[in-house]
Amino acid sequence: MDLSNLFVMFITFTLINNVVLNQFLGICPFMGVSKKSSSALGMGAAVTFVIVAASLVTYGLYYWVLEPADLEYMDLITFILVIASLVQLVEMIIKKTSPGLYKALGVYLPLITTNCVVLNVTLNNITEGYNFAEMLTYSIAIPVGFTLVLYIFSTIRERLELSNVPQAFKGNPIALIVAGMMALAFSGLAGLV
């Protein structure tokens, strides 16, 4: 386990191969939950939690159950059901144990079930052949990058609400233009590592 490699991996998947701006995944919550920075942070926190938990469960399930039983082809449907079940379980636990936390991010949990970023991370953990440390690093880096971009985008959108935008560009058109500019900006980080 080389810590410098893990650090490079973290920077790569947070900034350079960003899941939203480079891989173009998670566009739905990126556009839908970015009108306020508070909701963006809530969504980012919820996505981070679910992705890390789902990665741990699906990684163990694949190598301890599916692979020994020669059921590797069941990975897609298995992971979908595991992610959906995990979200239900997490929502139930948060409702019972922490009403404050539920008020902050509980409403986003059902939205994460259909978030393609979660399924992408769990599948990539297997297809890329990551060991446990790499899986954990990848599973933390992706949602951190997602949250970072979502928060930046939400702050820009908050300012756009107060700006003099032409009528035809108000709302989603200007938001998509901004997203394209952000993608261009982040592509400039390609030579960082």
């Binding site: 039983a69 059921l71 595991v82 239900q88 139930m92 009403p99 008020k103 509980g106």
Partner: protein
């Protein structure tokens, strides 16, 4: 093949059970009417769309 079907059924049952228990769990106090920030897009089938807030007869 049978193992795959049994495995799928087991996972589906786990999901159904958790879904049932989650919806039986009462919402915490002051959380009955929280909604995700949504100003409404074209997907009116989404549960968070503001059109679902319109009450009958109003």
């Amino acid at each position: 093949m049978i193992l795959a079907v049994l495995f799928f059924v087991a996972l589906a049952l786990i999901y159904a059970t958790l879904y049932y228990f989650n919806h039986q769990t009462p919402l915490p106090k002051d959380c009955e009417n929280i909604k995700a920030e949504c100003h409404g897009c074209h997907d009116t089938g989404c549960g968070n769309h503001p059109s679902h807030d319109i009450k009958k007869g109003s």
